[in-house]
Symmetry: C2
Subunit: 191 residues, 2 copies
């Protein structure tokens, strides 16, 4: 998606440790116009699938997933990190390791909101080593839901999450795939 790649080149900042900061438009300040264009692109890719729900994980996936759900005209379900006293009863749970936050999270989804009758589109802002996405897939499979597609805004293909998930046969579309980036020069190479 050219508009997105241009924006990454213009406003993304490469930091040491394979960190790409897109805080100015994607995950701290959010350019909602760009999200509209991103949602339109996911609709172009997955619009023929019988999507019943969009599925993501808090927190930074929520905004993009919300606009995608709006475009598909279906509810959004987001997985929650850690137990909350506002969630009771039976939940699907899994455990994910956050590369960004250097910690392990328990992730939960109420069984009321994901079931074997659901056809889901999984949406997330980033795919690097794939821990978050593995967690979402794990929950979806445990629920028996059909994964109709996975939509990622930015994939870092030099980390192996995307490769492994494609090998497992899931339909995975990333709107910008970064093959290499250099914290010293700031250079970003797209696939």
């Amino acid at each position: 998606m050219e508009l997105l790649k241009q924006r990454i080149v213009e406003d993304g900042i490469v930091k040491p440790g394979n960190v790409l900061k897109v805080d100015s438009f994607l995950n701290h300040q959010i350019d909602v116009e760009l999200l509209n264009a991103i949602a339109a692109e996911f609709e172009r890719i997955y619009g023929d699938r019988p999507i019943s729900k969009v599925f993501t994980i808090e927190a930074s996936g929520i905004a993009v997933a919300c606009v995608v759900a709006q475009r598909f005209g279906v509810p959004l379900v987001f997985a929650k990190k850690a137990q909350s006293i506002n969630l009771d009863g039976e939940s699907f749970t899994t455990r994910i390791e956050s590369y960004t936050h250097k910690r392990v999270y328990d992730v939960i989804v109420s069984k009321k909101y994901l079931s074997a009758s659901d056809h889901i589109l999984i949406i997330d802002d980033f795919l690097a080593n794939g821990c978050s996405l593995d967690g979402l897939i794990d929950i979806a499979e445990t629920a028996g839901a059909t994964i109709e597609g996975i939509g990622i805004v930015i994939e870092k293909s030099f980390q192996l999450g995307g490769t492994q998930i494609r090998k497992r046969g899931y339909p995975l579309a990333s709107l910008a795939i970064i093959e290499a980036m250099d914290a010293e020069t700031g250079e970003i190479v797209f696939a």
Copy 2:
């Protein structure tokens, strides 16, 4: 807002400890059609204000704030809980106590995304004792931003956050105000 109140009566669940669960449509599974109607209502209330940014806090405020930002055609900025290695440089910080999660959070906003030139609309899903909202107001005031309005989806007026914030002179609009609720009978009384 009648549509919202009806939905709360139909699908909200009153739990002991003054907890209202609206997980089925607002903060776990999200009815995006309802968010569109909520955003339209906030536009009706604050549409004449010169809003430059919508401001909220992760995680459950993001979805509603995103759809409001979309309707106003402005960026969304969300405050982040706890330090992330993806946020560097200078940040505004404050500390909030979560009633729901029974813990204290450090909350940060990059100085790049909130400034004295901003006219903001603060949006959140819930207002009870007001700790989250106090934190957002604190950050906005430190940044020198003008608070043009505050929009809350559900206010529990038997807790005192809303009363205190109105006393301080902020324009605060809550789309559903709950005056009393009973966990035994499930009854919800709107103001």
